[in-house]
Symmetry: C2
Subunit: 175 residues, 2 copies
Amino acid sequence: MDLKSVIRTISNWPKQGVMFRDITTLLKDEKAFNYVIDKFCDRYKNVPIDLVAGIESRGFIIGGAIAHRLHKGFIPIRKEGKLPAKTENEHYNLEYGRAAVEIHVDAIERGSKILLVDDLIATAGTLVAAVNLIEKLGGKVVECAVIIELPDLHGREKIEAKGDKLFSMVQFEGE
Amino acid sequence: MDLKSVIRTISNWPKQGVMFRDITTLLKDEKAFNYVIDKFCDRYKNVPIDLVAGIESRGFIIGGAIAHRLHKGFIPIRKEGKLPAKTENEHYNLEYGRAAVEIHVDAIERGSKILLVDDLIATAGTLVAAVNLIEKLGGKVVECAVIIELPDLHGREKIEAKGDKLFSMVQFEGE
């Protein structure tokens, strides 16, 4: 399936100069959504995984589906202040200022193997912070799995520099 | 399965006097998460549904899994300012002030049958706003499906007063 044909590009959103890759057109297409989840699950069905973690918010849609399909539990990694119990948090830099992601400290047991899911990797700020959270709790990230990679922004290098792995399904480069 | 035993209650969160029902303990339990998705899908597998809509953020986890399992597309209903293309929006009252939810105007075709999913119904402010969004676009809500209902807050009455239906899996009443 040509996934690019079902991903909508919106120019100058959320700000001037950005080509936003909108997956809502993929998600609402039952064939495309199923294809994406099938492809992830084919890749991971024979890989030892204890839990699937998804990054708020679009990572929840894909991560929830993958977790269910692989018969695993799901761990939400959320923006600051959203999780009600005791959390570990990790800050990361934005273009202007900083943001943080959080995980419940009791979400993961030491040594657990975690599949980390999001919709897209750009500069990898959020994804690296999420990997750090999992590792702070003693978890091991089996792989970071995303639908879309923007290679021009070099997120992959940051993930691989940490010794972690990235799988992306479609790449938008120089477009 | 006794779902209440895997839902954690956190007192006085997000503010004094609230007993917050935390489903992260359910989601990370592979048996409980699978049980919940199985039960929803058993209920809807023979019901004519065109699309599954989920409400940000916890509704994305459950809605994504249900959509995939039923082989349907998924529509995100998001907080204000998060969706990149043209949206319809609907405001609702909070205890202090107002909030809004949004949907892409091209998410739903007129006459589409939509299963609307969230994790919890309390006063039904968000859920009624989401139903209104779907109806503004000409969609028909087949049912509102949630894991948790708080009957003391009378959300069900608001859904049913609109002529819509609610299914909840577990109720916390007077607790």
